[in-house]
C-alpha cells in the first residue's frame, strides 16, 4: 500500500480535479487534493507527496510562488498544468524549478506519461552510488570519470560543448530544461545569438545519439521552451 506513489493534485476547478482524481485512482495511485495555494502548501508539508500536479491559475497564489516555496525544502517533481498558451508562463514556471508542464486540455494518457517520467526521476535519484561515476539510460552510457559517452558498445564522438550539454541533460533526466537555463549552465551567459547555436548543437547531439530505427529519441525538443532527456522505457538487455 505505502509503496504506491502519493500524488498531490492542486487544482481549483472541481471538474478537472475530479477528472484527475478518477484517473489517478483507476491507475492505482494514491492522491491528495488541494483547491488553492494555501492548502497545497499545507498538504505538501504534512504528507510529503512524491509528485505534485500544480495548476498555475490558482485563486489565492501565483503558481510560480508555490513552486519557489516548495523548492525551498523539497526536490519533489512538480508538473505544472496551465490553461495559458503563452510559452513565457511555462518557461517562468520551469525556471522557478518545475520539472515539466502540461497544457489544458490534456489527454489522460499524456498526464499519465508525464507522471511516469517524474516518478522515474525519483527512483533514479534514489540510487546515489551509480550517479557519481557513470550514467546509464537505455543503451546510452556516460563515463563521467573518463569523459566519454557510448551508445551500446561504440563510443560517440562529441565536441566539448556537446559533451557538456549531454551531461547537463543526463543529470536532469526527466526534467524540462529551458533554453535560458541551459545557456547559463553551458555558456555561462545568455544572448539571443546563442539560442540559435544552441539549436544547432542540440540537433547535432540528437543525431549522434540516435541509436537506431524506431527507437525513441533520448532528447526531446520542446519548441519555444527547451529540451529534456528522457529515460528510456527499458534497457536493451531486458527487451526480448
Amino acid at each position: 500500500m505505502s509503496n504506491k506513489p502519493l500524488i498531490l493534485v492542486v487544482e481549483d476547478d472541481a471538474a478537472v480535479r475530479n477528472l484527475m482524481a478518477v484517473t489517478l485512482e483507476t491507475r492505482g495511485y494514491r492522491y491528495h487534493l488541494a483547491q488553492n495555494g494555501m492548502e497545497a502548501l499545507i498538504e505538501a508539508t504534512t504528507h510529503q507527496p512524491d509528485v505534485m500536479l500544480l495548476d498555475l491559475g490558482l485563486p489565492d497564489m501565483e503558481g510560480v510562488e508555490i513552486i519557489r516555496k516548495v523548492r525551498g525544502w523539497s526536490n519533489m517533481p512538480v508538473i505544472v498544468i496551465s490553461a495559458r498558451a503563452e510559452d513565457s508562463d511555462k518557461v517562468e514556471a520551469l525556471d522557478a524549478g518545475a520539472d515539466d508542464y502540461l497544457t489544458k486540455p490534456f489527454s489522460v494518457d499524456e498526464l499519465l506519461a508525464r507522471l511516469r517520467v517524474a516518478l522515474r526521476r525519483i527512483s533514479s535519484d534514489q540510487q546515489p552510488a551509480s550517479q557519481e561515476a557513470v550514467y546509464d539510460n537505455g543503451s546510452l552510457h556516460i563515463d563521467y570519470a573518463a569523459g566519454c559517452a557510448y551508445i551500446g558498445d561504440s563510443e560517440i564522438h562529441l565536441t566539448p560543448i556537446e559533451y557538456k550539454l549531454l551531461c547537463l541533460l543526463a543529470k536532469n533526466t526527466g526534467k524540462v530544461l529551458t533554453h535560458n537555463y541551459i545557456l547559463k549552465e553551458v555558456w555561462g551567459s545568455y544572448s539571443a545569438a546563442e539560442v540559435g547555436s544552441l539549436r544547432v548543437f542540440m540537433a547535432m547531439l540528437r543525431k549522434k545519439l540516435q541509436s537506431g530505427e524506431g527507437t525513441q529519441p533520448y532528447i526531446q525538443t520542446h519548441i519555444g521552451i527547451g529540451y529534456r532527456m528522457l529515460r528510456q522505457e527499458k534497457i536493451p538487455e531486458e527487451t526480448p
Binding site: A85, T159, A193, S197, R199, V200, A203, T221, I223, G224
Partner: protein, 657 residues
C-alpha cells in the same frame, strides 16, 4: 472649398482699433447668439508700427469679443481685404460682419472698397454691414500713414539732380544752336518723365517739376540768371508745371502698373507651382517640405519648421538652409524653444521683427488649420535683409496654401481610418456570426450525446456507447482547435504583441505540429522529407506550429483514409520553403487565392460541411505574411493540393568545430 461645417454657421467679425469696433462686435455677438452660429473675431495685424494707444484699444476689443464668446484669431497682412477673404476661405466662414461709419466721405469710400473687394475675393460669403453713428478720426491715421510711407533715399535724389543737370546742358546746347525756347521746355518735361521712371515716390516727380520750372526760369528766360521774368512767361511756367506733373504721374502710374503686373505674374507662378507641388505631396511631412522649399526659394532665407501633432511640438526642427548660410544648422535651437512653443499654442507670429521676442534669430509663424496649429515655421532673419511686404504677403499665401493642403490630407486620412474601422467592424461581426454557429453545432452534439449516455438504463450496447463517447471526444478536440485559432487571431490582430522571432529548427517545428494533430490524422500516411536536418528559419515557433497544424489538418480533412500526406522543407535563397502535399481532390480552378480568404470553405458540395469556417487558412496567410514570407497553393499530379509557404532562413554561426 470643402463644404465643412455645413451644420453650423460661422460668423466672422472684423476687429479694428476704431472706436466703432466694439459696437460691431456686440452686434455680431447678438447675431451669433440668435442663430446659434460660431463667432470668430478676426484682427488683421499689419507690419506697420502702431502706437500704444491703438494697440490697447485693439486689445480691449479683442478681450470684449472673447467675453462675448468669440474665438479670437489674428492674421497678418497689409491688405485687410485679402487677409480677411483668405481666412474666411480657409476656415469656412459663412458670414462676415463689418463696421461702417457714415458721414465722412473719404473713410466711407475706403469702407466701400474693403466691402467690394471682399465681395470680389470671397463671393460665397455673406457680408453684413453694421451702420454706426460715432464720429471717428480714422482719416488722420490714414493720411499720416501715407506720408510716413514716403521715404527719401540718397540714390533717388542724386538721380533727380543728375537728370536735371543733363536737361539744363541740353537746353544750353539747343539755345546755342538757335533752336526755339519751346524745345527747351519739352526737354525739361522729358527730364521730369525720366525722373518719374527712375525713382520711386511722387516726391521726386513733384520736386523735379518744381525745380525744372525754376531752372528754366533762371537760365533760359529773360532776364537770364535771375528768377525774375516777364509776365508773358507765367503762362508758360504754369503750363510747363502742369504738364510736368501730369506726365510724371502718368509715367509713375504706368511704372507701378508694370511692376504690379510683373509681381502678380511672379506671385501667380509661385503660388501655382506651390499648389501643384502640394497636390503631389502624399503626407504631412512631404507637404511641409514642399512648403519649406518654396519659402526658401521665394525669400532666399534659411527656413525651418517644427512639426506639431496633437498639440505636441516636435523635438527637433527640420531645416532647409540656403547656400550662403551654412551656419544655420549651428543655431542654438533649444534656446528659442519658448518662442516656438508660444507660436504653436497661440497660432500667432513671434520672434524677429515682431513685438514678441524681437531678439530671436528667426521669425516664427504658425501654419494654422481650422482649429489647430499644424506646424511652426521659422525664417532666419537675423543675418539677412528684412523681408519686403510683397514677399511677406506671398509667404503668408504659401503658408495658407500649406495649411489647406494639411487640412485636406488630414481629412482624407481620417476618412480612410473610418472606412478601415468600418471594414474591421464588418469582419468582426462576420467572424462572430460564423463562430457562434460553429460553437453551437459541436456543443449540441456533445451535450446531446452526453444526455443519451446519462439517461441510459442499459439499453445501449457497448459499441453504441463507444461511438457516442468517441463523438463527444472528437467534438471537444475540434472545439479546442477552433479555440487555438481564435486565440492566435486575437494575438496577431493585437498589434502591440510583437512576433517572438527566434532561429528555430524547421524539423523541431514540424515534429511539434505532428504531435498536435486530429485523431483522424493517425489514419493517414504522413511522411516528412527534409533535405537538411539542420535547416533553420526565423519564426515565432508557436505561430508557425499553428500554421503547420492547420495545413496538415486541412490535408487530413480533404483526403480519404490511408491517403498519403507529405511534409517537406528546403532552403530557397535566403528563404526556407515548407510545404504540405496531400492526395485529395485538389483546389478548384480559380480558387487559388480565395482559399486564403476569411470564411472561405471549399466543402459546400460535401455533405459533411459543418466543420470549418474558413478560419485556418486565412490565419495561416496572415501569420506567414507577418513573418515576411508568402503562402500559396497549387495542384499537383495526379491529384492533390500543395500548400507552400516561405520563412526567412536563419544563419547561425557556430562557436565550435
Amino acid at each position: 472649398m470643402p463644404d465643412k461645417n455645413l451644420d453650423r454657421e460661422r460668423i466672422l467679425v472684423c476687429v479694428s482699433a476704431s472706436p466703432t469696433s466694439s459696437d460691431v462686435i456686440r452686434r455680431a455677438a447678438k447675431l451669433s447668439k440668435s442663430t446659434g452660429a460660431e463667432l470668430i473675431a478676426l484682427y488683421v495685424e499689419d507690419s506697420e508700427s502702431q502706437d500704444d494707444a491703438q494697440e490697447k484699444t485693439v486689445h480691449g476689443h479683442l478681450n470684449m469679443a472673447e467675453r462675448l464668446g468669440a474665438v479670437i484669431t489674428t492674421v497678418y497682412g497689409n491688405d485687410p481685404a485679402t487677409a480677411i477673404a483668405q481666412y474666411a476661405r480657409v476656415s469656412g466662414i459663412t458670414k462676415i460682419v463689418l463696421g461702417k461709419s457714415p458721414g465722412k466721405r473719404s473713410f466711407f469710400a475706403r469702407e466701400e472698397t474693403l466691402m467690394s473687394r471682399l465681395n470680389e475675393l470671397a463671393p460665397d460669403v455673406e457680408i453684413i454691414i453694421v451702420p454706426n453713428h460715432l464720429q471717428e478720426d480714422a482719416r488722420h491715421f490714414s493720411l499720416r500713414r501715407k506720408l510716413l510711407k514716403e521715404q527719401f533715399t540718397m540714390g533717388d535724389l542724386v538721380k533727380t539732380v543728375l537728370i536735371l543737370v543733363l536737361c539744363t546742358g541740353v537746353g544750353f546746347l539747343f539755345s546755342a544752336i538757335g533752336l526755339a525756347i519751346t524745345n527747351v521746355v519739352l526737354i525739361y518735361i522729358l527730364g521730369v518723365m525720366a525722373v518719374a521712371l527712375f525713382t520711386t515716390g511722387y516726391i521726386y516727380s513733384l520736386l523735379s517739376s518744381l525745380l525744372s520750372v525754376l531752372i528754366f526760369n533762371f537760365f533760359f528766360t529773360e532776364p537770364y540768371y535771375s528768377l525774375q521774368s516777364s509776365p508773358d512767361y507765367f503762362a508758360t511756367f504754369a503750363v510747363m508745371f502742369a504738364v510736368a506733373i501730369l506726365s510724371s504721374s502718368l509715367t509713375s502710374r504706368i511704372k507701378t502698373q508694370s511692376i504690379q503686373t510683373a509681381n502678380k505674374a511672379y506671385q501667380t507662378e509661385v503660388l501655382l507651382s506651390t499648389s501643384q507641388l502640394l497636390q503631389k505631396a502624399e503626407d504631412k511631412e512631404a507637404i511641409l517640405n514642399v512648403m519649406l522649399q518654396q519659402l526658401c526659394r521665394l525669400l532666399e532665407h534659411s527656413v525651418l519648421y517644427y512639426d506639431r501633432t496633437d498639440s505636441i511640438l516636435a523635438e527637433q526642427p527640420v531645416l532647409h538652409e540656403i547656400e550662403s548660410d551654412h551656419g544655420f544648422s549651428q543655431v542654438d535651437f533649444p534656446a528659442e524653444r519658448d518662442v516656438v512653443e508660444w507660436v504653436g499654442r497661440n497660432g500667432k507670429h513671434a520672434g524677429r521683427s515682431t513685438r514678441k521676442w524681437p531678439q530671436a534669430r528667426c521669425l516664427y509663424m504658425a501654419i494654422r488649420g481650422e482649429n489647430r496649429v499644424w506646424a511652426v515655421v521659422g525664417i532666419r532673419a537675423d543675418n539677412s535683409p528684412s523681408i519686403d511686404e510683397y514677399r511677406k504677403n506671398l509667404m503668408i499665401s504659401i503658408l495658407d496654401e500649406c495649411a489647406l493642403a494639411l487640412e485636406k490630407d488630414h481629412m482624407t486620412r481620417e476618412k480612410q481610418r473610418i472606412e478601415e474601422n468600418a471594414r474591421q467592424e464588418a469582419l468582426r461581426a462576420n467572424l462572430l456570426r460564423a463562430i457562434s454557429h460553429d460553437l453551437r453545432t459541436p456543443l449540441t452534439s456533445i451535450s446531446g450525446n452526453a444526455a443519451i449516455l446519462l439517461e441510459d438504463l442499459g439499453d445501449l450496447d457497448d459499441s453504441r456507447k463507444k461511438a457516442l463517447y468517441a463523438s463527444i471526444y472528437d467534438d471537444a478536440i475540434w472545439l479546442n482547435g477552433l479555440m487555438e485559432n481564435l486565440l492566435t487571431i486575437t494575438r496577431t490582430e493585437n498589434e502591440t504583441v510583437k512576433l517572438n522571432l527566434q532561429s528555430e529548427m524547421v524539423s523541431d517545428a514540424i515534429e511539434e505540429a505532428l504531435r498536435h494533430l486530429d485523431r483522424n490524422a493517425a489514419r493517414r500516411r504522413i511522411v516528412v522529407t527534409l533535405e537538411d536536418d539542420l535547416l533553420m528559419a526565423r519564426m515565432d515557433s508557436a505561430l508557425i506550429v499553428q500554421v503547420l497544424i492547420n495545413l496538415i489538418n486541412n490535408a487530413v480533412k480533404y483526403t480519404p483514409e490511408n491517403a498519403g500526406i507529405t511534409i517537406g522543407a528546403k532552403p530557397e535563397g535566403n528563404m526556407v520553403a515548407l510545404w504540405v502535399e496531400d492526395e485529395g481532390p485538389g483546389i478548384p480552378e480559380g480558387d487559388e487565392e480565395k482559399v486564403f480568404e476569411l470564411f472561405y470553405t471549399g466543402v459546400k458540395r460535401s455533405p459533411d460541411s459543418r466543420r470549418g469556417i474558413g478560419l485556418g487558412l486565412a490565419l495561416c496567410r496572415s501569420i506567414v505574411q507577418a513573418h515576411g514570407g508568402e503562402i500559396k497553393v497549387s495542384n499537383i499530379q495526379p491529384h492533390g493540393a500543395r500548400f507552400e509557404f516561405t520563412l526567412p532562413i536563419a544563419e547561425v554561426e557556430e562557436y565550435e568545430q
